[in-house]
Amino acid sequence: MSSELLATRGLVKEFPGVVALKGVDFDLRYSEIHALVGQNGAGKSTFVKVLAGVYSPTRGEIYFKGVRVSIRNVRDAKKLGITLVHQEATLAPNLTVAENIVLGTLGKNGGVLAPLKTSDILEIARKYLEIVGLSIDPRTKVGVLGIGEKQLVQVARALAEDASVVCLDEPTSPLTAVEAERLFEVMKELKARGKSMIFVTHRVEEVFAVADRVTVLRDGYKVFSSEVSKTDPSEVVKHMLGREIERFYPAKKGAEGGNAGVPRLKVVGLTTSQDGKGVILRDISLEVYPGEVLGVVGLLGSGKTELGKALIGMNKIVKGEVYLDGVRVRVRSPVEALKLGIFYVPEDRRREGLVGIMSIAENIILPKVWETSELGLIRVPRREVSVARKWIEFLKVVPPEPNFKVMYLSGGNQQKVVIAKALKARTKVLILDEPTFGVDVGAKVEIRKLIRSLADEGYSVLLLTSDVDEALALCDRIAVLVNGRVVGTYRTSEISRDFLVELLGGRGHGS
Amino acid sequence: MEELKAKGVDVELLVHDAKDDPAIQTSQIETVIGLKVSAILINPVHAEAVQPALEKAVKAGIPVITTDRDVANPALRLVFIGTDNVKGAEQAAQKLIEALQASGKPKPWKVVILNGIPGTTAAEDRKKGFHNVLDPLVRDGSIVIVAEEVANFRRDQGLSVTESILAKGKFDALIAANDEMALGAIQAIEGAGLKPGVDVIVVGYDAISDAVEAVRAGKMYATIAQSPFLQGYWAVYAGFYRCYFNWKPTVGWIPTPTVIVTKANVDTFAVEVATPKPLP
């Protein structure tokens, strides 16, 4: 046992309605980066949260330096030296970097009431910022930092707390490739200083870039564990999926032959208001035909989300016209958009797409809720469930339980529920904003297939994405969006990946 | 005022209504200081909030006389003219005992007390007055206080609190620190199928018009009328004496009399409290 810093035996965590961990055995050695991978919903996030005391385990044992310990809360975990760097940065945005770094150490030297000297705080902060390689002024407010910087500040804080085990919960998912690279350097540096890390990710290539060992969780079970040097990416992916990967992209049928007739959605010279937050769109013109997937490809901050929201009346259009089936329309609110058959599936599903505390069925019937009601008012539960069940089956939502709460679904299944809402409301124009973002590999394939098949059925799909490969594989035509302007629209068959990446500013990134 | 004029005194009265707002009252005080009036007679809307304004008046050499309500710092005013709530409450309690004796109900009599908002002068003084009379009788065993509750001077709370007290059992008499609570209690007593005035003797305080009606109808046995008329009348005289004879009161507080209102004087008490009496 002594070679292991931290070990779990038969760790079980139950939530109402789901068992997230089903008896996990796990070891972490001294000075080791141990990657924990799995699809969304595999239980990896839950696992590190149990170790960090965010959740208390339902059953099972945890050993620290060979001694059995019980971690009932975050304080217990911190006493042992286990810290979690959260997926969502948990820093106080209104405080400075330095204040955030020392926040966790306050209890240690002389208690919370010990007087704080600004110069001391700054000194401590500078020391740890240097270790994580951040050259920012510690007096900067955290709110103005980018996500990558915030993550490194969290790591610095963990170091300031003298953590021996740092759990990183999907730290790279919001990072750019360069930022991620930098994080890996920091992780290697920490390893050299004798720290151990549990690195949660769903990107297999990252495992091979930085980790010593890898453990795969699937469906709450540990299914595979190995030295990184003794395995290869395809083996890890095979264990993650539990089946052979299907063809990653579906075959295109679509309206390749040319778009005759009236476009379903036509946008001419659309310009959005200055006063709104986010990117201002200027003079955007687009056409989407029935049965077509039009990709709007743009990087973060190009204005694609703003475009989606403008088309359903959530962003104010100050100039330009929108035509639906050749008829000029004005869309001032999502209510009017829905009436016309335009539905926006937001990028941020949890905040804008779903009511987490409600069931799958209730979420699906929410748009045009009166349709399942008697006299448009009185709910008929049986009708609701049967409507929901139809879409659940069509989209293969797992679990196929209409009464299951949406918040417990994995990212991919949540996405399916949002799409189900749109389909249930008989949408004609489906605007999908990063539909495969934060969704595990298996679900990505399914959702891409679904998008294609919807187009083949005659839906008009506007796919807003930053994923060049996804766009090339799925779309009939691609409009490239840079800084709120369309710089060109192309038939997918006519352009190469390199050309597209160059248009985007040479900064395209893969799936 | 007319009296003084009739006697040949050159006097003029300026009246301001502060609408129970300390801010309004403060600016009114400041205005009249500017007019260089000879005296200020004031019913302070708040014991502390208007003190800064009154300090300016004192600095300007204008005597201040408070009526009905007093300010926290006695140095700011020449004299306070207002009701002695302890004495009034004692009268009310004595009247309650008289009524109990007259009713021939068997001893020990069961009595309920309803108090006002804790911490206010009126509530604390009246509570003290009730106990001054009732406590000796509790000791000699002729009465039992079955409940003493707070109903915050409010009619709706008087109702619900009395309802709950009645759930503990019937009682003989109830005395409340104001009429609103007493009227709420009467509502509760009727709701329990009892007759107020017969089964339960109720005594209130303040003689508000609803309560006077209840006294006339025999539902309330007695209530206590204060003398707002005398407060004003005496205040004018105090100001007059001060200005003309440089009068210095020997006491800080001149209590105004209270009148017990019962069925016997329900039609005449109004005149009684409005009859001029010389300043003691």
Binding site: F15, I312, M314, S333, P334, V335, A337, L338, K339, F343, Y344, R351, E352, G353, L354, V355, G356, I357, M358, E362, I365, L366, P367, K368, V369, W370, T372, S373, G376, L377, I378, R379 | N115, P118, A147, E148, E149, V150, R154, R155, D156, L159, S160, V161, E163, S164, L166, A167, K168, G169, E180, L183, G184, Q187, G191, A192, I208, S209, D210, E213
Partner: protein, 325 residues
């Protein structure tokens, strides 16, 4: 013996756990505990008279709680219940006494006043985009001000005809039937209609509902208006109870209304709780005041006890919903 006891306890435990699964389970368990404790502590507690006055006292508060719950379930807050009930009661009484209209018209006018205040609250929140706390705080202050202006601080007397609301029908006072009826109505509205579904959804995630193309503002407006109507009915009940329109009716009751919701298991962040929760909560609050008087607890100490019990109840109830939110 000990074994037998623990066996019967575990037998009791299972239905209890089963009950706690329901939205209203926690509040009901708390209520049963309070009733059991009260009837052990005071033999008077269960007497018919006491149960009757408990229902009478609960009725207005329950209506305030029901109205408040419509708003809290959406994740908003309403501070206007106390003032709304007073203004509705006052204007209804004036219609009856000063303008000599029949009772039915006066009652209708009172309800309309409540609906109107709700409309104002709703418009301030949805159209003027003022946070509900601020908008309804304005109604709280202005509403009370209007009551005092209209009544000059004096009660409006001569409302003995309002007694129809307190008179007994089929063994219970009309107002008790009323609050039962409104409780059922509220349950139906929130659990069995699409408006109710949207109400819960708004409390769960307003943004998502907006993106779903649902008329969020219309539902909000509707709920504020309906809440105003509930408060008005409470005001009319108080007119009947006191047989006067008392200008200080409902002073501070907004807090009791909110407490009724919280005790009834409705979370202040919205989206969670049973439509009947406020009724149970209002009954608990009333019961607490009642039992403390029955026991003759020192009035000042009563507040301390109430404070402790409220905190304990709120803590126990939030424990249950922590997972959900």
């Amino acid at each position: 013996m000990a074994r037998k006891l623990s066996l019967s306890l575990s037998k009791l435990g299972r239905p209890l756990r089963e009950l706690l699964r329901y939205e209203l389970g926690g509040p009901l368990v708390a209520l049963m505990a309070l009733i059991t404790a009260s009837s052990i502590l005071s033999p008077r507690f269960l007497e018919p008279y006491n149960q009757r006055i408990l229902l009478l006292q609960t009725a207005p508060l329950a209506l305030l709680g029901l109205g408040e719950s419509m708003v809290i379930l959406m994740g908003s807050i309403d501070l206007s219940p106390g003032s709304t009930m007073a203004l509705a009661g006052t204007i209804s009484a004036m219609t009856f006494t000063r303008f000599g209209h029949p009772l039915s018209v006066s009652i209708l006018v009172g309800v309309l006043v409540g609906l109107a205040i709700g409309l104002v609250n709703g418009l301030l929140v949805t159209k003027a985009k003022i946070p509900s706390f601020v908008a309804t705080l304005a109604s709280l202050v202005a509403g009370r001000g209007m009551v005092l202006v209209l009544t000059e601080g004096q009660p409006i007397v001569g409302l003995s005809q309002y007694r129809v609301i307190t008179e007994e029908v089929a063994g219970l006072p009309t107002m008790v039937w009323l609050f039962i009826a409104f409780g059922v109505l509220n349950y139906f509205l929130l659990k069995r209609t699409s408006v109710g579904l949207v109400t819960y959804a708004i409390g769960g995630n307003e943004e998502a509902v907006r993106y779903s193309g649902v008329r969020v503002d219309a539902v909000k407006l509707f709920n504020f208006i309906l809440a105003g109507g509930y408060y008005a009915v409470a005001g009319l009940m108080m007119n009947a109870r006191l047989e006067v329109a008392y200008p200080w009716t409902g002073w501070g009751y907004e807090l009791d209304a909110i407490a009724s919701c919280v005790l009834g298991g409705i979370t202040l962040s919205g989206g969670v709780g049973s439509p009947l929760g406020p009724v149970v909560g209002a009954y608990m609050l009333t019961l607490l005041t009642n039992i403390l008087i029955l026991l003759g607890v020192n009035p000042y100490f009563q507040w301390v006890v109430k404070g402790f019990i409220l905190v304990a109840a709120a803590a126990a109830l939030t424990r249950g919903v922590r997972y959900v939110k």
